[in-house]
């Protein structure tokens, strides 16, 4: 992973300025909602990418971390009136610890076997929450209404504050992802992705670095979970722990370009509007249309551009 060029930084700053000004120009709630989902899924993709894209650990269980984040902050708020920002950190820590707990016994699993284990993990967590009376079981949790404000992480009159918060979260995730990719850890993740034997022979403690990847990814994913809970104010296992969402996170990253810092953002930028708009416009005909378009896009990408849309960009970029 190369250091950023001046040109890339300039583009980045321009994009940021546009995104910061965006809510001033557009007041449509629908558009804002789609943008918020776009940022959130981009963040989830970036978090997945640190595990899946860099270290080659294809997780299909990201919703478990997402759900743990959402449930931890929501439960702490309801039961102990803990401020959601503290709940956010607690959720991140809880998800990271659970990640280590499940990651350690899976240390020797690679490729498909690891993917299968993560599917099982996500489903176990969902089933557990579905039956766990303390956190509302299948009925879920309805968050109490607090006074509007940044301190309470709750806004009732406008979506704009949520827009800025999730944008900041996304930026934080991208910064973490970039720092990881350019550091020793990033090199070690890529060696582990290639082969555990290569990594070991270069003196890399494979287990430790794999767990580190899981912890970073789980923490960021749980942050997004807390955000979602504060945004929607109602969570239940069927909305925050669905396998389909895990799959969507993987698709976003793969479509955009797994292993690159910006890939998941591009993937989310394509898939989330497609998904939301097809659902709104075509949803009444049955829920399948958006998934059909998904499937078509994924097929196109995997056949013609296995490195994702970002791979296409960087190829065109290096040609020009």
């Amino acid at each position: 992973m190369r250091k950023l060029t001046v040109k890339q930084i300039a583009y980045g700053v321009m994009a940021m300025v546009c995104l910061i000004c965006f809510p001033l120009a557009v007041s449509s709630t629908l558009v804002l909602h789609i943008m918020i989902l776009f940022f959130m899924f981009a963040m989830l993709g970036v978090a997945w990418n640190i595990m899946g894209g860099y270290a080659g650990m294809f997780s299909f269980g990201q919703v478990a971390f997402f759900g743990i984040g959402a449930y931890t902050s929501s439960f702490l708020l309801m039961a102990y009136h803990v401020n959601p920002w503290i709940g956010l950190v607690a959720g991140g820590v809880a998800a990271a610890l659970v990640g280590v707990g499940i990651g350690y016994p899976c240390s020797n699993l690679r490729g498909h076997y690891f993917a299968i284990a993560t599917i099982a993990f996500g489903e176990i967590v969902r089933t557990h929450f579905n039956n766990w009376k303390l956190v509302g079981a299948a009925e879920g949790l309805s968050l109490p209404m607090l006074d509007e404000g940044l301190g309470n992480f709750m806004f009732h009159s406008s979506k704009v504050p949520y827009y800025y918060i999730i944008l900041a979260f996304l930026l934080l995730s991208l910064t973490v992802s970039y720092l990881v990719s350019t550091s020793k850890t990033g090199y070690y993740f890529r060696a582990i992705k290639e082969s555990h034997d290569v990594a070991k022979v270069l003196g890399i403690n494979v287990v430790r670095y794999r767990l580190l990847a899981v912890m970073i990814s789980a923490f960021l994913t749980a942050m997004a979970g807390t955000f979602y809970a504060q945004y929607v104010l109602y969570i239940d296992p069927e909305s925050v722990m669905l396998l389909a969402v895990s799959v969507q996170i993987v698709l976003i990253s793969m479509l955009g370009g797994a292993g690159s810092v910006m890939g998941p953002v591009i993937g989310a930028g394509i898939l989330i509007p497609v998904s939301e708009l097809t659902r709104i416009w075509l949803g009444y005909r049955g829920t399948g249309i958006d998934m059909l378009i998904y499937g078509f896009l994924i097929t196109l990408i995997s056949v013609y551009q296995p490195k994702g849309v970002w791979g296409l960009f960087s190829r065109l970029g290096s040609r020009g």
Binding site: T182, S183, K184, Y187, Y188, R190, A191, E194, S195, D197, V198, A199, K200, V201, L202, G203, I204, N205, V206, G259
Partner: protein, 246 residues
């Protein structure tokens, strides 16, 4: 522990079920030596490498590195102590450039990527791959890939380098170049243990040769003695080769 041998094996045994890949192997490698391990296919050479470097723990016996026991250590811990190795089937990181591959190895001794890159360039200059540093690992010829794998191992700054068939499948010119590299690695103060089938190379570079057959050590000595030993010839070289060397 100044007088301890670089590498010492005592009764190393590794079996897979009833099959003894290594049966009670003893030998000593002194610092600064080049020792070759030869033997027919299936003699247990690569398994022995795996036992020494922690990829498979030995079922019995002990391995010492400069007097410290390393028998049960993890592969990465052994690497950190100063034993690097290559594989019979070349292993490089395919989506990294040559420089990045070697940098990954150098990062064992550095925290900062920039400084590890500096070390990696030094190593590449030494192994003669510096002009190809921006190629992807997969774009190299087999000879260069083997050279890259050696560079990655060297970048971890080992005291002992173990090469598993680094000269198989090379053209005569490439073979000469690889032998030159191995000699200059030794000249830089690194001890070498090599598994090799190419007898021309074994004869030229080795101080001592250890012969394995069916998991047992059948002979050990200077290369000249080994190739004229009757038992070795029968087990490995065959009578035809005997006739040639006579």
């Amino acid at each position: 522990m100044k007088n301890a041998a670089c590498l010492e094996l005592r009764g190393v045994t590794k079996h897979f079920g009833g099959l003894y890949a290594n049966d009670n192997i003893d030998f000593i490698v002194q610092e600064g030596e080049i020792v070759s391990i030869i033997g027919p296919n299936g003699a247990g050479k690569s398994t022995l490498f795996d036992c020494i470097t922690g990829f498979y723990p030995a079922n019995a016996g002990q391995v010492f590195f400069f007097g410290k026991e390393i028998t049960r250590l993890r592969a990465d811990a052994i690497c950190k102590m100063g034993i690097a190795r290559t594989f019979q089937v070349v292993q490089v990181i395919s989506d990294m450039t040559v420089l990045e591959n070697v940098t990954t190895g150098a990062l064992l001794r550095f925290v900062e990527v920039g400084r590890a890159k500096g070390k990696a360039e030094e190593v590449l200059a030494f192994t003669g791959l510096l002009s190809k540093k921006d190629f992807l690992g997969t774009e190299l010829t087999i000879a260069d890939k083997k050279r890259l794998e050696v560079s990655m191992a060297l970048a971890t700054q080992p005291k002992l380098l173990m090469l598993d068939e680094s000269m198989a499948g090379l053209t005569p010119v490439e073979l000469q170049a690889m032998m030159g590299l191995i000699k200059s690695i030794r000249a830089s103060g690194i001890t070498l243990v090599v598994v090799e089938h190419v007898m021309q190379a074994v004869m030229e570079i080795s101080d001592r040769v250890i012969v394995l057959s069916s998991g047992k050590k059948i002979m050990e000595g200077p290369p000249k003695d080994v190739v004229t030993n009757k038992e070795v010839i029968e087990a490995y070289l065959g009578k035809k080769y005997h006739a040639v060397t006579q």
